[in-house]
């Protein structure tokens, strides 16, 4: 055995012999968008991305990109071009595309059910015209509940999720109990599993309710808008101190069911905008490991309350960026807390998996990912669809559990036409956008705000918001710093 191998050893050819000739490559399909003043974001149809300098993009397209240039390996490994004679890239892309579309076959997973629209709180952004806490004509009947569950079990999804919404669901705990017991029974009969969550302000938590939820494995989701004054400003009740009740409820749920049994989210109002760090600190102080920073939805009281809730998309984006950057900094300093909106955007950017977030997928998630059963048996394509109907426009009502069949509702024109006509792959503005693989269509919101299910993207706040968020997050990821590591730890 020779003791050393010199590069000129006659058995070894130089590296350059194995590299393709300059220009001997073919482009693979991709989209791009101007990312900042000097760079473009390239993305392919399976969602891989690459940030490149403007010059690199032009070289790529003009076939003058050299193997020795910095972007070559990154662009090749992420399938933006392939060297002539190779077929592995094609096989891989086709497989990846099939993987990315596979979640569609899961069909509807999130089933929201409204046992009552009675409520004991008057949140300023309430999207449902709630009734007083004693008016029982707003309760769901057992017949409607039975049909709702039969409907749910028609879905082939392997991750069925049942979520109680309202009103305040605990005001009709008898119906919650009925539905949960029946669900667990149907699970045994069908051999399937359903995860169950109650969205509640926790003001009515009792020993009885906690023991029931423990026995039947029911989790909770609640709203915590920030420190006491902010929370009570957004979510006032004539009957009690909203913040006190929520915190007391969180403590009781944790003690009875465990710390992971309850999650919280916040809704941003005008009053929240100047206080991003305080809101995050409130969650940290209450030992939450996750916070969901949500913008307001333009329905119901939120659209009527005017000055209390109204703010521009630009203002909200600034609020979000400040809060997110603070949260990342806390993580770097050893305080573990994840931001849920960023987590699902990361999941969209870095993985081909579904997120269960119906507003950010194409085709839209209405009906085919999530569906809602209202207290009166009406079936809506999404929570937003219900809110729209509460405001007087039942456009996205699919039918009624008591009078319409599953097939009629899931194959209704309004659902099918809306889904097909709004796919981002095919609509102007979206079809050639570099963010398309990560984004989605929100036909109900565009219908509400612009009068059109497709929407005019240049003036769409949905588009403006998501482009800003994608830019911010991809910018951090690409920086490769400790902040990028924090973000990568969030998507799962």
């Amino acid at each position: 055995m020779p003791s050393s191998l010199s590069p000129s050893h006659h058995n070894f050819r130089p590296l350059e012999d194995f590299l393709p000739q300059n220009g001997a490559y073919q482009l693979l399909p991709f989209r791009f968008v101007r990312f900042d003043t000097t760079r473009y974001l390239l993305s392919n149809f399976v969602g891989e991305h690459c940030l490149v300098e403007s010059e690199t993009l032009h070289e790529l397209v003009s076939k003058t990109l050299r193997p020795s240039s910095a972007g070559y390996s990154a662009l090749k490994s992420r399938h933006f071009f392939f060297e002539s004679g190779e077929t592995s890239a094609l096989h891989l892309l086709a497989t990846k595309y099939r993987t990315k579309q596979a979640p569609l076959a899961e069909f509807t997973s999130l089933h929201m059910i409204v046992p009552t629209i009675r409520c004991n709180t008057s949140c300023v952004y309430c999207q449902v015209s709630h009734k007083s806490s004693t008016d029982q004509s707003c309760d769901m009947t057992e017949e409607a509940a039975d049909r709702a569950l039969d409907f749910m079990f028609r879905s082939p999804s392997s991750h069925l999720k049942l979520e109680f919404q309202g009103g305040e669901p605990l005001l009709n705990f008898a119906m919650v109990r009925y539905i949960v017991e029946r669900t667990r029974q149907l699970e045994k009969q069908t051999g399937r599993e359903v995860s169950i969550v109650i969205c509640s302000n926790l003001s009515l938590i009792s020993e009885e309710i906690l023991q029931f939820c423990k026995k039947y494995h029911v989790d909770f989701s609640t709203s915590l808008d920030g420190p006491r004054d902010l929370h009570n400003h957004n979510r006032p009740s004539a009957e009690f101190d909203s913040y006190e009740r929520t915190l007391a409820g969180i403590t009781r749920v944790r003690e009875a069911l465990g710390i992971c049994a309850i999650s919280a989210l916040m809704t941003t109002t005008q009053a929240s905008l100047s206080r991003p760090r305080e809101i995050v600190d409130e969650y940290v102080g209450q030992d939450f490991k996750s916070i969901f920073l949500r913008p307001i939805n333009p329905y119901g009281f939120a659209s009527r309350a005017g000055a209390i809730t109204h703010y521009s998309t630009t203002e909200w984006i600034e609020f979000y960026k400040t809060a997110l950057d603070y949260i990342i900094d806390l993580n770097i300093r050893g305080i573990i807390i994840r931001e849920a909106y960023a987590a699902l955007l990361l999941r969209r950017i870095l993985t081909p998996y579904g997120t269960g977030y119906v507003d950010l997928q194409s085709p839209a998630g209405i009906g085919i990912s999530a569906i809602l059963f209202n207290h009166d048996g009406n079936v809506y394509a999404s929570d937003e669809s219900r809110m729209l109907a509460e405001m007087g426009d039942p456009h996205f009502r699919l039918g009624n559990l008591l009078t319409d069949s599953y097939e009629n509702m899931m194959l209704s024109d309004v659902l099918i036409d809306t889904l097909t006509e709004t796919m981002t792959e095919g609509v102007p503005g979206c079809s050639d956008c570099g963010f398309q693989p990560y984004c989605g269509s929100d036909p109900v919101r565009h219908y509400r705000l612009q009068g059109d299910i497709v929407g005019f993207k240049p003036t769409s706040e949905f588009c403006q918001r998501h482009m800003a968020l994608f830019r911010h997050i991809i910018g951090i990821l690409d920086g490769g710093s400790a902040a990028a590591d924090v973000l990568k730890g969030w998507m799962y």
Binding site: R31, P428, G429
Partner: protein, 128 residues
Amino acid sequence: MAGTDFLTNRLPDGTLLLTLDSKVYRLSAIKKATYKFGGLFHVLIEQHDHATEVRMKPKESSAPIDKLVGEFCNEVLDQELRETVAEETAGILNLLLAQAFSKTSLIDPAMETAEYDTEHREETVSNE
């Protein structure tokens, strides 16, 4: 980035008149670019023999016109690039989509249906 391919005139009523050389800028690229700026401008496009005229009237009089026109021109160039990429990759895109959803390989059928080589091979280890 207004070069010699663009001629920009400002009309008395605030409308901008851009003239783009048809040999350089496709109509389809221009249309897509004006769509993206539809939130900021009212647009009218007219095609002539050698040039396309684009009239853009800002919706807000306080808008930074020069900056926006620069961005618009960049967007037209970007759209041109997109069309180039799309033309070149249309065939492969169709192949990939069909491959993704077909039950048999369309790219390399022979490779995917070949038998595995099950013959034993003699391994020799050379002594050094």
